[in-house]
């Protein structure tokens, strides 16, 4: 069996969802460090007024790559790492629905990330911010390859996300264990399902926005060119029709994580389970109707503005409902303040603050003042760096024992959390103030007369504490993976199915697929015994798992190659890449994942 093999080739050809999950996480962590360095460069430049640490051009590249990397190469893939590792275990499946497609998603993501970052080697890193507003991105105003790297890299990542979304929807619909009804699924699986639906619907819109931009740049089309009747604002519409659901792609997995972690460390079932599920679904849908609140300054007119103000305020309701549910879950519970739990409580506090400043600029007149200032930077870092990332780190501390069979070091974990919490607030809270004083975003320096030197200095100091916390985290992960305290199958005494199998799980996950009879199967003594009787035993005959395959990495390489060849500007160059992709797809289609080796 290839899955017992540990060589480098076994990882490259693996189709095991657990290994792919680990690869996603490690890759995302590497990009996290890269994006963190970019953030530090930004903060050093803003340390004092009229600083000249870096040029305006380098500054533009830094904030563009920081934003793009954090969203597409850190927050999303880190959530996908948990989708991969945890969801099949939570629903009682042996793998995802399409294991090879899953590997293809990973390799496409990796090559897309490398593609995007390789721009640094050519001195042409994207420099038009992560929202890349037209028509700054036109060939006329951005003649270099910077924008090309950005739009092609992002479309590669989009393909990866759509494939992942399809895979997880199918997995959750079709591979649940007997008795695992939809309304018995753990909240993390539920939020994965909602997130996957947003992925498969939102990413195609981004793809089209990027395709139109590509046609403008490579073939002289006029989509965003006002001279020929095009409209630069269309880019903003398409980008935010994708971009606002994207915000929920980022936060819903974290909501899922803490909805599983808080009950475990409160020793109470989640308060109002169905309400939390419905609120998540509602957020998923309402997220489609709010995009123009990013565009109040474009002058949409009173009717459109009023609609988007109202819809934006409405979407705060299901989010508020969830926050109340989490607090009510902790209420009267026997709370254990583990690092994972601390991160959950941190998320509750910080995300709520970010949500409140969000409601402030949901109001169009206020937004006109705050638009493109550091106040907005503070807002979205409160929801993303505070909300999303804290949720993901809660998941890391919570599921690490399942993944590795060892605990994360709790003492280092507490240091990690508190430096994170202090560093985070010190970095981003002062930005509210500098923003209200009028400090613009995406501008490499500021005048001394603005009187915002102090909040900027505090932010920079905070950023270094924040960076220290990230280093502690990386160190804790490595140290704990090597010499952490061994953990049993269910070290936290949690309720859901992933804790019924050994840690780390065998490559087939479940020796026998258990039958589930309730929402918290491991908290009901009788049910727990029944389940563990089949999940903890060593099977007489190991379940047959799909073979490893070279096709995913070969095909993913073809996708990146094709996209890279687009940049030559010759129409026939990508056709070469496409032919290679076509051959790979045919070989893929006729490869039998269950063929016996050597037969």
């Amino acid at each position: 069996m290839s899955a017992h093999n540990n060589g480098i080739w076994s990882w490259i050809t693996t189709v095991d969802h657990k290994r792919i999950g680990v690869m996603y996480f490690v890759t995302a962590l590497v990009f996290f460090v890269i994006a963190g360095v970019e953030a530090l460069v930004i903060r050093i430049q803003l340390w004092r007024p009229e600083n000249d640490f870096i040029s305006a051009e380098t500054y533009s590249q830094m904030f563009t790559m920081h934003g793009t990397t954090m969203i597409f190469l850190v927050a999303m893939p880190m959530a996908v790492a948990f989708f991969n590792f945890i969801v099949p275990l939570q629903i009682g499946a042996r793998d995802v629905a399409f294991p090879r497609l899953n590997a293809l998603s990973y390799w496409t993501f990796l090559f897309g990330g490398i593609f995007l970052n390789s721009s640094f080697l050519f001195g042409a890193a994207p420099n038009t911010s992560w929202v890349a507003y037209a028509n700054l991105t036109s060939s006329q105003f951005s003649p270099g390859h910077n924008v090309d790297f950005w739009l092609l890299g992002l479309s590669i990542l989009g393909i990866s996300s759509i494939m992942g979304g399809v895979n997880f929807i199918t997995t959750i619909i079709n591979l649940r264990a007997p008795g695992m009804k939809l309304m018995r699924m753990p909240l993390f699986t539920w939020m994965t399902l909602v997130t996957s639906f947003i992925l498969v619907t939102a990413l195609p819109v981004l793809a089209v926005a990027l395709i139109l931009l590509a046609f403008d740049r490579f073939f002289g089309a006029n989509f965003y060119q006002p001279m020929a009747g095009g409209d630069p604002i269309l880019w903003q519409h398409l980008f935010w029709i994708f971009g606002h659901p994207e915000v929920y792609i980022l936060i819903l997995p974290s909501f899922g994580v803490i909805s599983d972690v808080i009950p475990t460390f409160s020793r109470k079932p989640l308060f109002g389970y169905p309400i939390v599920v419905y609120a998540g679904i509602m957020i998923g849908f309402l997220g489609w109707g709010v995009w123009s609140h990013h565009m109040f300054t474009t002058g949409l007119g009173p009717i459109a503005d009023a609609f988007f103000v109202a819809s934006t305020m409405i979407i705060a309701i299901p989010t508020g409902v969830k926050i109340c549910n989490w607090i009510a879950t902790m209420w009267g519970g026997q709370i254990r303040f583990t690092t994972a739990m601390l991160y959950c409580i941190g998320l509750l506090a910080i995300f709520t603050l970010g949500g409140l400043s969000g409601i402030m600029h949901a109001s169009a007149p206020i937004d006109l003042q705050q638009h493109d200032t550091h106040f907005v930077v503070a807002h979205f870092h409160y929801v993303v760096a505070g909300g999303v990332m804290m949720g993901l780190f809660a998941g890391l501390y919570y599921w690490f024992p399942k993944v590795t069979g060892r605990f994360m070091d709790e003492r280092l974990g507490k240091i990690n959390f508190w430096t994170y919490f202090v560093g985070f607030n010190l970095t981003f809270f002062p930005m509210h103030i500098s923003g209200i004083y009028g400090m613009p975003r995406r501008t490499w320096t500021y005048a001394a007369e603005l009187n915002i030197a102090l909040p900027n200095m505090l932010s920079t100091i905070g950023a270094f504490i924040f960076a220290l916390s990230a280093l502690i985290l990386v160190y804790t992960i490595i140290k704990s993976a090597i010499s952490g305290e061994p953990a049993g199958p269910n070290p936290w005494n949690a309720a859901t199915l992933e804790w019924s199998i050994p840690s780390p799980p065998p490559h087939y996950n479940f020796a026998e697929i258990p039958t589930v009879r309730s929402r918290e199967p491991l908290w009901r003594e009788e049910e727990r015994r029944e389940i563990e009787a089949v999940t903890l035993k060593v099977p007489d005959v190991e379940p047959v798992m799909p073979n490893s395959s070279y096709m995913p990495i070969l095909l993913a390489f073809g996708v990146a190659l094709t996209w890279g060849l687009v940049m030559t500007g010759k129409w026939w160059a990508p056709v070469i890449g496409l032919s290679y992709v076509g051959v790979c797809i045919l070989m893929w289609a006729f490869e039998d994942p269950f063929a016996r080796k050597g037969a």
Partner: protein, 197 residues
């Protein structure tokens, strides 16, 4: 194409539905957004072009009506091909798969003719925003048809070799879903772009 590893492994799915089919319908849901975005782009730019040619100058309704009819009939051929595979009738299946290829190819032929004709009339992708949005929308639809024709050709060869037994009907059914989807996208395009100028 048997990538439904886990489903085949323990012969069980929670819904009793084939995993491939659930995944493919989800993918089609995703494709809806792809074409919705392209169609939106075309629609918001209606009347925005500052220079000609304009839609009324170039769009040829009789010609496109014929090609629309051809594509509709290819959907009929597709369901009949699937019916042939389900019955285990290799000749019937091969014949109707060949018809799908011929009709799909005819549609593409019409499109190539239309595109060259338009360029001749001065409508190009870089000329005005009507040209940009028209060529990109119908071009991506044409690319989907092309992928479909290649897919059908692979199935046709498999059918000739007797590889498409009734047990393999799911492969043809999925390909059919794709083909019909491309057809319904064209139904929308035909109305919004050609008839409602």
């Amino acid at each position: 194409m048997s990538d439904t590893a886990v489903a085949e492994d323990h012969h069980y799915t929670a819904t009793g539905l084939p995993t491939w089919k659930v995944g493919f319908w989800t993918f089609l849901g995703s494709e809806c957004l792809f074409f919705a975005s392209l169609i939106s782009t075309y629609m918001v730019y209606k009347g925005a072009s500052t220079t000609g040619p304009f839609p009324a100058d170039v769009l040829n309704i009789p010609l496109t009506s014929v090609s629309t009819f051809v594509l509709l009939m290819s959907s009929l051929a597709m369901v009949l091909a699937l019916d042939g595979v389900r019955r285990g009738d290799k000749r019937l299946a091969s014949f109707w798969l060949a018809m799908v290829i011929v009709l799909g190819g005819t549609f593409l032929g019409f499109q190539v003719y239309e595109f060259t004709h338009f360029v001749h009339e001065g409508l190009t992708i870089s000329g005005n925003v009507f040209g940009s949005s028209f060529f990109v929308l119908t071009g991506f639809h044409g690319a989907h048809v092309t992928v479909g024709v290649i897919w059908m050709t692979v199935l046709f060869i498999m059918s000739l070799r007797g590889k498409l037994t009734p047990a393999e009907a799911l492969k043809v059914e999925i390909a059919g879903l794709y083909w019909h989807f491309v057809d319904i996208v064209w139904i929308v395009i035909f109305t919004l772009i050609y008839l409602l100028q």
